[in-house]
Amino acid sequence: MAQEIKSLVVKSQENVAGSVGNWTDITDRMPNIIRTMVTGKMDEENAHLVSAALTGMPSVFARAILFKDALDKSGASSKEGLYEFYANLIDEWRGIISAIAIDPDRISRKRVYLEYSAADDTSMHNVFEPKGAFGSALMEKKWLWVDSSLIEGEQRPFIDVLFLDKNLIGAASPESLFFTGVDYKVAHEGPYIDLKSGKFQDPLKASLTKEDVESLHFFVNQLKENWSKLEEKLRSGVKDRFTVAIDYLDAPLQTFLDDIEAYAASKSYDLAKRPLSIDTFEAPFDIVFNHSVLLGGGSQPMSSTSSAAGTASGSAPGAAQSSGAYNPADLLLPEGSEIL
């Protein structure tokens, strides 16, 4: 009878047979081992506890990394363990994107530089101070969290934290576009909020107006069309330190777009292009998140610009209004209006 062999690896559905008596290289098989790990299924009652307890990711940026991983693995067939949790994160990711698309005026952003507040005197600062300590915790990834359009000596790691009204809800991320905070709770009503938990939810699970769907469709389409510009910018910052690829964003964005279109069809909404005006973000995120559709007024001939990618990066909020430009979307009559 042939001798049975067991591999001393984590419980996984991946059949990882090796030979006895030596260390077998499994570098290329690790993704499958990890993906098919036997972790048991979360029961619904414990789902939020699991998310709280899911702290095995040994980085203070675990929350951001989990969103990246969730998007990267969104096409995986496994729905157990971490993958079940990933599905929840994608719901939240869709929710925060929807909040920005549907209620851009309620969203604000604050850039926090990840440096010690007493940076000039390194012997005096508290090494545990989050601003500085979280910055040093980025290590090699620091180069993803800077504005690479600046010269290298001036590149400072930062994080753009986001608020809905005055609630801290999450942040922008070079690897997942957005991620939500670990502990936020929003009381504000909206199709992207699960009122029971106060967490973001996939708005397509709620009731959306035709205007909401059009805004969302426009914004998600914009993200899909422009993520590669962000990737290009990240690569210029990271250089050859490690490989940067965020092309995994394309599939979940496309799926989101498809789902939005299916939702619209189910509601018999005939989707019209509803350009948004978002100028909340600075470089490097402006190239993918911001959008201005401005008509010049005053003494200039009326003209329109329609752009994501950079047109607003140098302009302070409100600058467009002061020159007399305005968003044509503001001229649209509310749905249900009648022209007499």
């Binding site: 006895v20 972790t39 040994p58 971490l82 101070e129 601003k131 990834k141």
Partner: protein, 552 residues
């Protein structure tokens, strides 16, 4: 093979890391790391942790055994003998003194803007009511996202105190000495890290350690830097292999205890951690090799070791039994330290695993741990060391607290081997103590046989086998009288039992034969580099036992 100039460093982190170190030290005692000097750093958040105290006591006793009487300098590396590696111990632990993340971070300090920004960042990434608030005294409680940040900066904090010359902390001073060694040897140094990826302190620290040490060295020795392209790091990626009682609401009823590690989440923690270790650019850049070691069988519940029903978050009560996977981790270090340098000259981490025979149960042989080339040697050396244990503990009653090695030495003197008459009672009692931790002792409070390391390792394979004949592992005090040191190994060619009057094995005759062999041969050779009386005594026993087993 690695060159002779390679300097070896071991870092053990957290409870599981300490138990891996325990296995590593026992392999050193058996002579598996011949002629090496190994710098060992233990790191924990919990100075009182039972696993940590156990292994530190073990290492300190090892160092005493290696040292000349009352010198305690750890002696010198030797060759082809027991205790052949020289071990230097450094201990670093964080001292959070009832602090939480919130108090440690001083979230209420600084300008309004600074306070606000620090709070935003904290609330964005760490749960306020739990993770930011629990008492850090007993470690990171499986909150590795918090732990990695705190351990990284605790090391930097210590380095800054050292640079400023304002520390009285023995932990910080030890870290400084370890960094000095690492900095001095960085031309061809290898650092192997023991820790789990599913728990708290070890899981938190493995990813940040290379960078934290580099940054700390630069702070401590201004103007100098550790060249991490030359210092090679390897580590275990040890996933869950034990479980414990689920914490109840009552266990978590106070803010300080609001977070308690729950082994039900260990598998998820492992999955998240492995995902991180496979994709994070810093980890992949800093480590040359990861040895993934997991347990595909039923996990061991460690609550059976404990008296209390309360979940133990740490402290002196946290003292788990040893497991065969910890020996596999120690064997991973053996592999890492013996690799040719060219194998480690890579810019990309490699991930490795081990397969073992399993015919309904595990049947471990030496080759399953260290490969066929070294496996035979491992079996012979462990077998010889176990025989030494039986001689001192069973035949000469050392298990019962009596001076077993001394009793054996007296027997040698009766046989006119008087070279070791100068050994002090203290010298010999240190060896007794070590042998008890390796094999067994009789618990004076209940007069039961209490298992040491090798017995616990064997127990962890259940109905399987662990290198040697089952008769090599007496299970009751009564059996100790019948232990036969000549029939430990499986292969007949390595057995040397003497027959009694009726043809059966005679343990006492085997022992007498062994003493004769000590008289006739087994004397030490200059190539063994042993100089002190104690080293010669130990080498003489080792030589005679290996010769008895026909080990060349």
């Amino acid at each position: 093979m690695a060159s002779n100039d390679t300097k070896n460093f071991v870092i053990a982190i957290g409870g599981t890391g300490m138990r891996c170190l325990e296995s590593f030290v026992h392999l050193c005692a058996a002579g598996m790391f011949d002629n090496k000097e190994i710098e060992v750093l233990t790191i924990d958040t919990d100075q009182e942790n039972g696993n940590k105290n156990r292994v530190e006591n073990l290492v300190q006793n090892y160092i005493r055994i290696k040292s000349e009487h009352q010198k305690n300098d750890g002696g010198n590396p030797n060759v082809k003998t027991f205790f052949s590696a020289k071990i230097n111990l450094y201990r670093f632990w964080t001292d959070y003194q009832e602090q939480s993340y919130k108090t440690l971070s001083k979230l209420s300090a600084g300008s309004n803007d600074t306070r606000q920004e620090n709070k935003w960042l904290s609330d964005l990434l760490l749960e306020e009511d739990t993770v930011q608030s629990f008492d850090l005294g007993h470690g990171y409680r499986a909150q590795t996202h918090l732990g990695s940040h705190l351990m990284h900066h605790s090391i930097l904090h210590a380095a800054r105190n050292l640079a400023a010359g304002k520390t009285d902390s023995p932990a910080e001073k030890d870290l400084g000495k370890f960094l000095d060694k690492l900095g001095a040897e960085s031309a061809d140094s290898r650092v192997f890290v023991f820790g789990s990826v599913f728990g708290g302190t070890g899981a938190s620290s493995i990813p940040v350690l290379p960078n934290a040490l580099k940054e700390a060295y630069s702070i401590m020795v201004q103007g100098k830097s550790l060249d991490l392209d030359k210092v090679k790091f390897g580590s275990t990626l040890l996933t869950e292999y034990f479980s414990f009682k689920k914490p109840t609401a009552a266990d978590k009823s106070t803010t300080e205890n609001s977070v308690i590690a729950d082994s039900a989440f260990f598998a998820l923690n492992s999955q998240a951690a492995l995902q991180f270790y496979y994709t994070d650019p810093t980890v992949k850049k800093r480590y040359s090799r990861f040895y993934h070691i997991g347990w595909p069988s039923e996990t061991q519940n460690v609550d059976s070791n404990k008296d209390s029903n309360k979940v133990i978050t740490g402290g002196s009560s946290q003292k788990n039994k040893c497991h065969v996977l910890e020996l596999m981790c120690a064997s991973a270090a053996f592999d890492f330290f013996n690799l040719p340098t060219s194998e480690l000259d890579t810019q990309k981490a490699r991930y490795l695993m081990r397969s073992v025979p399993h015919d309904g149960a595990y049947t471990f042989r030496g080759s399953d741990f260290v490969g066929p080339k070294d496996g035979d040697e491992m079996e012979h050396k462990l077998s010889a060391f176990l025989a030494f244990c039986h001689i001192a503990l069973a035949i000469n009653k050392g298990a019962d607290g009596q001076p077993g090695v001394k009793g054996f030495n007296q027997r040698l003197q009766k046989q006119n081997i008087t070279a070791y008459a100068g050994l002090t009672d203290e010298d010999m009692s240190q060896i007794d103590l070590y042998l008890r931790s390796f094999a067994y002792r009789i618990n004076p409070s209940n007069q039961e046989l209490e298992h040491g390391w090798l017995y616990q390792i064997r127990q962890s394979v259940g109905s399987g086998t662990m290198m040697f004949n089952s008769s090599a592992f007496p299970t009751s005090i009564k059996d100790l009288d019948q232990v036969d040191i000549g029939s430990i190994m499986k292969e007949e060619g390595n057995q040397w039992s003497e027959k009694g009057l009726f043809g059966g094995e005679s343990p006492s005759k085997t022992f007498d034969k062994f003493v004769e062999r000590l008289v006739d041969g087994g004397t030490v050779d200059p190539s063994q580099k042993v100089t002190t009386t104690k080293e010669k005594f130990i080498a003489h026993i080792c030589n005679a036992l290996l010769k008895s087993q026909n080990f060349q």
